[in-house]
């Protein structure tokens, strides 16, 4: 499943972070990497961007960027 398909308040484990170049790198550096548990906190009123909780802090990503992240174990 893709991160962008998750609903608010669901949690999941990251399987793979796709994408290219500097952005992918930055997402990883912010702690979103394979095996990390993440929670979708909410979507912005216009459904984009999405706010995540990772490693205890809040970060926002665009939905199209979230669509590069594969997750499993969605609860």
């Amino acid at each position: 499943m893709l991160l962008s398909e998750m609903k608010e308040k669901q949690t999941a484990t990251v399987v793979r972070v796709g994408g290219i170049g500097a952005l992918r790198r930055r997402i990883l550096e912010m702690g979103i990497l394979k095996g990390t548990r993440i929670q979708v906190e909410k979507y912005a009123p216009l459904k984009d961007p999405v706010e995540l909780i990772v490693k205890g802090y809040h970060v926002s990503l665009r939905v199209e960027e979230a669509a590069q992240i594969t997750v499993e174990n969605v609860k």
Binding site: A22, L23, R24, R25, R26, I27, L28, E29, M30, G31, L33, K34, E41, K42, Y43, A44, P45, L46, K47, D48, P49, E51, V54, K55, G56, Y57, H58, V59, S60, L61, R62, E65
Partner: protein, 726 residues
Amino acid sequence: MIQKRLSIALAGNPNSGKTTIFNNITGTRQKVGNWPGVTVEKKEGNINKSGYDLKIIDLPGTYSLTPFSIEEIVARNFILDERPDVVIDIIDASNLERSLYLATQLREIDCKVLFALNMADVARTRGIKIDDKKLSELLAVPVVFTIGNKNKGINTLLKQAIELAESDYVIPEKRKVKYSKDIEDSISKIEHFIGNHAADSIPYNIRWTAIKLLEDDKIVKERVLEKTGKIGEDILREIHNQRNFLVDRFDDDPEIIMTDERYGFIAGIIMEVLTTSTKQRVDISRNVDLVLTNRFIGFPIFIFFIWAMFQLTFSLGAYPMDWISSGINLFSTLLAHVLPDNIFKDFLINGVIAGVGSVMIFLPNILILFFCIALFEDTGYMSRAAFLMDKIMHLIGLHGKSFIPMLMGFGCNVPAIMASRTLESEKDRTLTILITPFMSCSARLPVYIILAGAFFGAKAGTVIFGIYLLGIILSIITGRLFRSTLLRGDDAPFVMELPPYRIPMIKSLLIHMWDRSKLFLKKMGGYILAGSVVVWTLTAFPHNISYSKNYDLEIEQVKTYFQTEIEAAQESDKALLAQKLDVAVAELLTEKKAEKAEKSFMGRIGKVVAPIFSPIGIDWRGSVALLTGFVAKEIVVSTMGILYAADERENSEALKNALLSSGMTPIAALAMMVFVLLYMPCIATLAAIRRETASLKWMIFSISYSTLLAWGMAFLVYQGGTMIGV
């Protein structure tokens, strides 16, 4: 005795409290705010402490030593190139795991690192416990707990930093990140290669250089080529081979694997030093945010906040404005009474007070506006505004983060343009810089208040709001236009940390206001004063003008005429006639003044430029005011103060009345406001544009584009308005 100099750099993730601690140590007041990316350039401060002369450097925040945006490059380059004696890594203790990513990277360079576990209070309330001894032992670094905004632990921190600087400490290799075998092999191969061929010319730690090269770091690559010349190419070839080998082996880029492994190393540390109590707590910040960015009411609340900001600025600001205005009035009247009639009196009252005084009265409005913006920044709402607006900004080809400079632009365009440094993409930055000046800054406010107040009475508020709105709309259109022509390209990704809400510290807000007032008054005493003097001088000279008719003689004639009339008239008509006399004399005097003004140097300049402005309904005085306004937008008002209200007493009321009787129509006033909103930015803003885009071309472009747009829009407003007969 000469004191020993030590340089101590404060580094760390964005929003971890570096500037707060910097201010505590040095006693300065650099800007602090609760959003990532407040500090965009390095700031230095000096203090003396236990016999040392310490140079403290506050750096912009960065998430890693592989920089993404300009301000991150600043931070990294400083640490690498200036080699501070000690780097204090300010870590947000409530966010330890991610913060350690930078920390582990810092320890790969050969510099002395010290950890400040800041925000210890936040960590505690979240039930996070950190075993500092263990952390210190595991990574072989000194660790100090601090609470930046309460000035706790700062002394210990400094003492430890000095101690560390004086020790001959080297980081034990085994306390550094160990990568997996294949990567370590590659690293040591590269290390050897460099060691054998170019050890002396590499300015950095060799292992670190090897790691960065393996990670394909552009800047390090360039540096190595620069320093080693021919051999550099061999080195890069070797790197290329190693990278290919690793890509083959892991099926992914080495830098990705290494990021992964660093976090693996960190996970091990976290397991040993961090315990979180499982007790459930209410996360107030999270609940607040659920409301403020709620699907249904998030936007209405946002719009309400912006509306409230302007509402407060205008309505609350009106009271102190009146007081200051009466104060200036009183002062001016007093001067008029005590000073003998001479040119100096004219200079003081009609030059200095008319000019500076007409702007001075807006201090309260401007302070309130800045106060509101500071509230956005200090509470953490700024990031949420970016979060809310990202989709809309995205539609016009911009970035949610671009909204932060735009919002700041309502205060002053200069820091707003600086704030665009946090944008990762060069094109986004340029675009944001070009549209920021359309955000109406506080300096333009006085012009609107005067003009709208004089011509639109009760509807002034709506008109001013409309002007602001026009600025926003035109910036959006401009953005869209440039994005699809001059600055084509995809917009950068939106990865942004959303910090928890914090209660702003009243003290720091007040200090901020105080600093703002000082800045404003300095501007008054500086170029507003200078501008007023110049404008007055040009208006007062030449002194001996050849008038088209002999006013003094005519006045005498009128007087004698009425005198005889009065004598001849009946008792009951005498008062009426006396009144008529006064009116006639006053009319002649006004006419004389007007002619004098027109024949002054200023009038001549005005006459030259007036043709440009007459299609937009602005007379020569307005034209001159607009010309002077490019120095600073407030000067538009002070010049109008001198040119229009040539009466004895100067205040906003007098200026308003003078404007009303000057023949200016409401639609012309509206055109003038539109022009002031849009036309070329003030000198300080232009300098900022030049500096931040590093190009004269963009600055000139900005001047031309905005001035042309201003003229065009004002033309539409004036001609259109006149046509439909408003």
